[in-house]
């Protein structure tokens, strides 16, 4: 326990505390830090310009989350419906991209999406002769990159409850007169929501703070908070403001994680209470 705590303190708590402290100082005239206390940096976070970037990031992360959940849930559903012995094979293929580096996976999308990339060539091969479509350096490219990178999390998170679901529950619903769609909506979906929530929180938190994907696939034109923080530290040389932005981002992530933990806890509490009732 103690080494773990020391590790956590040295590599998590201390750096975070330093960044937090930084956010309360002024920026020096020629960069650097002027050690006088101020709340200006936090005020600036709420400036419409920067708040807009927060909202934009949340929107992009939200869209990526939605798409990843839909595709990931469908994939997990298909895997859980496959013959038992094939399921581990499909899961292996689903997480296979994880074995390569994040940067390389993102670069692969540049190869796919650029003006003379694979997709354009494929279109040409089918007889398309017009202007090559602009796909790279769009918001769509950023979302595609985020969805692609975090999809395996959703598949794994949704597969767990789906594979544990008693198949007779769906049959019972059909037997009682429900269509396949109603069975999905009223039985399968409610029983697998915890997996969806876990996967969605994962994608959202990782997406909203991401700066590599927007930088590479968005070409810097679609700034997200991650890029903004990066710029403050490394380009604008305004460390205190960068620190305040980073803190705001951490606060958003914590809020999302805590909400999910609270809801999951409440669900688990209900289940435990229910179990206790049966024993009593």
């Amino acid at each position: 326990m103690a080494p773990a705590l020391a590790w956590l303190t040295a590599l998590m708590v201390v750096p975070c505390a330093l960044v937090l402290a930084l956010a309360f100082f002024r920026r020096g005239i020629y960069g650097g830090i002027e050690y006088t206390f101020t709340l200006e940096n936090f005020g600036l976070v709420f400036d419409p310009l920067y708040a807009g970037i927060f909202l934009n990031s949340a929107r992009i992360a939200g869209t990526a989350t939605l798409i990843a959940v839909i595709i990931g849930y469908a994939a997990a559903y298909a895997i859980s419906a496959a013959p038992r012995r094939l399921q581990p094979v499909f899961l292996f293929f689903a997480v296979l991209p994880f074995w390569s580096n994040y940067l390389i996976r993102t670069y692969a999308w540049i190869v796919l999406l650029n003006r003379e990339g694979l997709i354009t060539q494929l279109l040409r091969w089918f007889g398309y002769t017009g202007e090559p479509p602009s796909m790279l350096y769009t918001e769509g490219a950023v979302i595609a990159g985020l969805v692609y990178n975090y999809l395996p999390f959703v598949i794994l998170a949704c597969y767990a409850p789906l594979s544990r679901l008693n198949p007779e529950l769906a049959e019972a619903s059909r037997d009682l007169g429900a269509s396949a769609l109603t069975t999905f909506r009223r039985v399968i979906l409610p029983l697998t929501v915890p997996g969806i929530a876990a996967g969605a929180v994962f994608v959202f938190v990782l997406s909203i703070g991401n700066f590599v994907t927007p930088a590479l696939l968005g070409g810097g034109r679609f700034q997200m908070i991650g890029n903004l923080v990066y710029d403050q530290f490394l380009t604008a040389n305004d460390w205190p403001f960068g620190a305040a932005l980073a803190m705001a981002l951490i606060a958003i992530m914590l809020l999302v994680l805590m909400t999910q933990a609270l809801l999951a806890d409440r669900a688990a509490g209900r289940a435990a209470e229910a179990k206790g009732g049966a024993n009593g």
Binding site: E168, L169, S173, D175, L176, G177, A178, K275
Partner: protein, 357 residues
Amino acid sequence: MSEPRTLLAIDHVSKNFGRVTAVDGISLDIRENEFFALLGPSGCGKTTLLRMLAGFETPNDGRILLDGRDIARIPPNKRPVNLMFQSYALFPHMSVRANVSYGLEMERLPAKEIRSRVDAILATTELVPFADRKPEQLSGGQKQRVALARALVKRPRLLLLDEPLGALDKKLRGAMQLELKRLQHEVGITFVIVTHDQEESLVMADRMAVLKDGRLLQCDTPHAVYEHPADRFVADFIGVMNFVPGKATADGVLAANGARITGKAPATLSPGASAVAAVRPERIRLFPEPQTANRTSGTVEALAYQGLDLQLHIRTALSPKPFLVRVTADAADRRPVAAGDTIELGWNAADVRIFAE
């Protein structure tokens, strides 16, 4: 009494999975308001047959006529048939009331009617105090009643029950057997129960079908199946039976040791063919009268006292396995026997059944 009406006609139904034939040309009729049992060892095809009646499997061949209409290809949500699952398959995220209401909501009935019908069935199944509980807060017996209520509230033409008592302990099972029969009378719905427990079918069923390897061996009342089994397998599967192997003769079986067992042989059995003579343990008398048709002597190997009666294992020269004999407590008290005793036993020709081996 008028001729009982056929509700469900299973007409030459076959089902195979790949190269495995699960159900092989079964035909049988199930009558209105009947408590019908499909009985057989595991793998006999009874569950596949049940799933075809529910609509979860489609027969490769044959027809399933409900009220004269072929339902073989109608999906499960569109047929007036409900299934009570072996695992009960209660929806864990819904209360007892929500579970029971679910099927009526699917019929889009007015909320008021749903409420009154659910209330009524909860009262019938004695579940009113548990209406707001979740399935995991219920005992095994309560879950079983919820599963039953959920299916019955739909007022199906036919209720299918897949090993309904399998998950209950022995004592509760006995009580639930009678409870199910009472309920079936009360609601007036035809029940088809699948079970591997021959005792269960004898107790509950009005008529029963014995299946083996996807084929129907016998379909009759429990009494007829028990007293006049169609073949050696049925004789062995239902209840306990003593077998004496030998060769068929004109008036019985010639045992391996040369003894003659007198009994009525089926006409299809030609003299000299391999055959077995069979007799139920409760038909055998100890210390038989001299004029008893079949008599032998044996050594008592073991005694099992069962309260109501006494079971004896008696080694005889007639068969490789010891004879099982059931004597009432009364008779056992009158002439006590002990292990190691050599005693006479006998049975009437009318109690002998003879089958091809």
